[in-house]
């Protein structure tokens, strides 16, 4: 905005961030690296939710459904077929995309609070299914899964150790995140913002609003399934709690705290939420809700555009995608 052209400044920051992420194993201990891996994976999941909430104005309270379907698909493939990561990812993306299409078909016909409650309902129904379908999911006990491998066949090129998995997760994150960025920059992404801002106008311009909504719902679901696949490959375990209400709200909170319609805000918000959760649970033990509540109230009053709105507020960087505070969510 001042010395550097905004586009160049943003690109420099991006390069520096990627370089920093690439060097992370040298800088962080095992525990922190594990946390960072978690944050990247959850950040990708939250960014896929931002595609719905931030860009399209579709407030989903059940996004964990698609993360969970992806996780279970990967877990089941790894247990019964092969522990190859690509097979796991393919199964996850495909199955969560299909489930997103089936549920989204109903959900996108509704608006606002109805959409919110319907997405919550789908997630809760899948959560209950995961608990009760004991023969497939082992219910609340969950499924331990074998360590993932990169090579063909079982056991070849095992992703052993935190550093190896971190680099695998980083590459996967960059691919997923890059895909989301390409989508929001495309004419399709611009159309989504148009639908959020003024649905009636987009309709009168001849856009099939319902079809766009369904398409973005499926894409967001498939990317969430991708993140779900990574989640299981990282933790080597899947249980119904991976689909729970808490996971959906945590992602929504990450998007809001990080800043809507920015994608990168979702990742920042995830980092904030994970770090604060770890710190709070030790510092405040049972009163973490009180602190979290105060954080929410503070964010709404003080940071209307979330954490990623901070640089713009202080004039460090200009934002490439202008969003109205609040949108039409």
């Amino acid at each position: 905005m001042r010395a550097l052209a905004p586009g160049r400044a943003a690109r420099l920051v991006q390069l520096a961030l990627v370089a920093l992420l690439a060097m992370a194993p040298l800088l962080l201990g095992d525990f922190r690296l594990f946390l960072l891996t978690e944050i990247l994976i959850f950040g990708l999941f939250a960014a896929s939710l931002d595609l719905l909430v931030g860009y399209t104005g579709l407030l989903s309270l059940g996004h964990a459904a698609y993360l969970g379907v992806g996780s279970y698909a990967t877990a089941l493939i790894a247990i019964h077929l092969t522990d190859n990561v690509f097979a796991g990812i393919a199964a996850a993306v495909l199955s969560s995309g299909v489930v997103a299409a089936a549920t989204g078909w109903l959900a996108v016909r509704t608006r606002g609070v109805y959409f919110l409650m319907l997405t919550l309902a789908f997630a809760q129904l899948l959560f209950t299914l995961a608990i009760t379908w004991d023969s497939l999911t082992h219910g609340a006990n969950g499924l331990p899964t074998p360590k993932p491998t990169l090579g063909p066949g079982d056991g070849g090129g095992a992703l052993d150790g935190g550093t190896a998995f971190y680099y695998y997760a980083l590459v996967a994150f960059l691919i997923g995140f890059g895909l989301l960025r390409a989508i929001v920059a495309s004419p399709f992404g611009r159309t989504l913002v148009g639908i959020r801002e003024n649905e009636a106008r987009m309709r009168s311009l001849g856009y099939g609003v319902a079809r766009y909504r369904l398409a973005v719902f499926c894409i967001a679901g498939a990317v969430a399934g991708f993140a779900g696949s990574l989640t299981v490959q990282h933790s080597n375990y899947m249980s119904p709690s991976g689909i729970s209400f808490e996971v959906s709200t945590l992602a929504l909170i990450a998007v809001i705290i990080g800043g809507r319609a920015t994608l990168v805000g979702a990742v920042l918000g995830s980092a904030f939420v994970f770090i604060i959760r770890d710190e709070l649970s030790s510092a405040f033990n049972e009163h973490w809700r009180l602190v979290l509540g105060v954080v929410f109230i503070g964010v709404v009053y003080l940071l209307p555009r979330g954490l990623s709105g901070l640089p713009a507020r202080t004039g460090l960087l200009s934002r490439r995608i202008q969003t109205t505070a609040g949108g039409s969510a």
């Binding site: 109903l106 016909r109 309902a121 809760q124 129904l125 809001i256 109230i297 709404v300 609040g326 039409s328």
Partner: protein
Amino acid sequence: MTFAAVGAALPGLLNEHLVSILNGLAVGMLLFTMAVGLSLIFGLMDVLNLAHGAIFLLGGYVAFQVIVGEGQSWLAGLAVAVGFGAVAGLALGGILRPIRHRGHLDQALLTLGLAFVLSDLATIFWGSDFQTIPSPVFLQRSVEVLGQFYPAYRLAVMGVGFALAVVVYLVVERTQVGAVLRAAVEDRAMVSALGINVGRVMLAVLALGTALASFGGVIGAPILSLSPGVDAEVLILALIVIVIGGLGSIPGALVGAIVIGQVQSLGTALVPQVAPFALFGAMVIVLAVRPEGIFGSR
């Protein structure tokens, strides 16, 4: 099935599951006291008040303090709790004022933050054990209903809930205040241009809605017991109720509350194997047929 066959089957169903049906009605009427305020506030102010469940729980705790803690009468406890609810609504109005031009998401996040803070404060003051208010002495007996004995208190809750539904409906549909309210729901700017202070109408509805939630917490306490977690549970049930019934509709809130009460109670008794899916399943079915709820309009 012919009418005669239905008529023959009905008494059997009634006899066998009468208690389930009555329990469902009592729970339904409790949910109505929550849902009607939630729905009216949303209809008028476009605010989804996620602190509504916390106010329900706090109302119960306040009455618990007055009745069990201080040994005062039931009526005194109810009055203090309702007053507390109204004040909480006014305070909420003040808190929401600076962000009233922002989207739903900000208001939802703010009220969710408040809900977290309030429910944690409640746990600090009243602990996490189950607390209960004994029902009023004159209702501590059973009444014979269609040949079976049933607690009088629960029948009273049903009666109060229905009376409340009728009163709220008549006020909104038949009085001048109600006319202003309905007009403000349709077109806030127009009503304001007519010289009516819409801000004050909103504040009144907010205070009424939270007072009703608090009232629900008090009359619900002898049935549900008060403990952390009840707030979230009741909030989600009330949200399902207003979504099924149609946002902003009073008859919708009533019908939704009765449906969800029966799904919870009779549904569990009739088909226990699908009970875990019944609540959200019912909502999906209703919204698949009517995306705006039963009484909702586009």
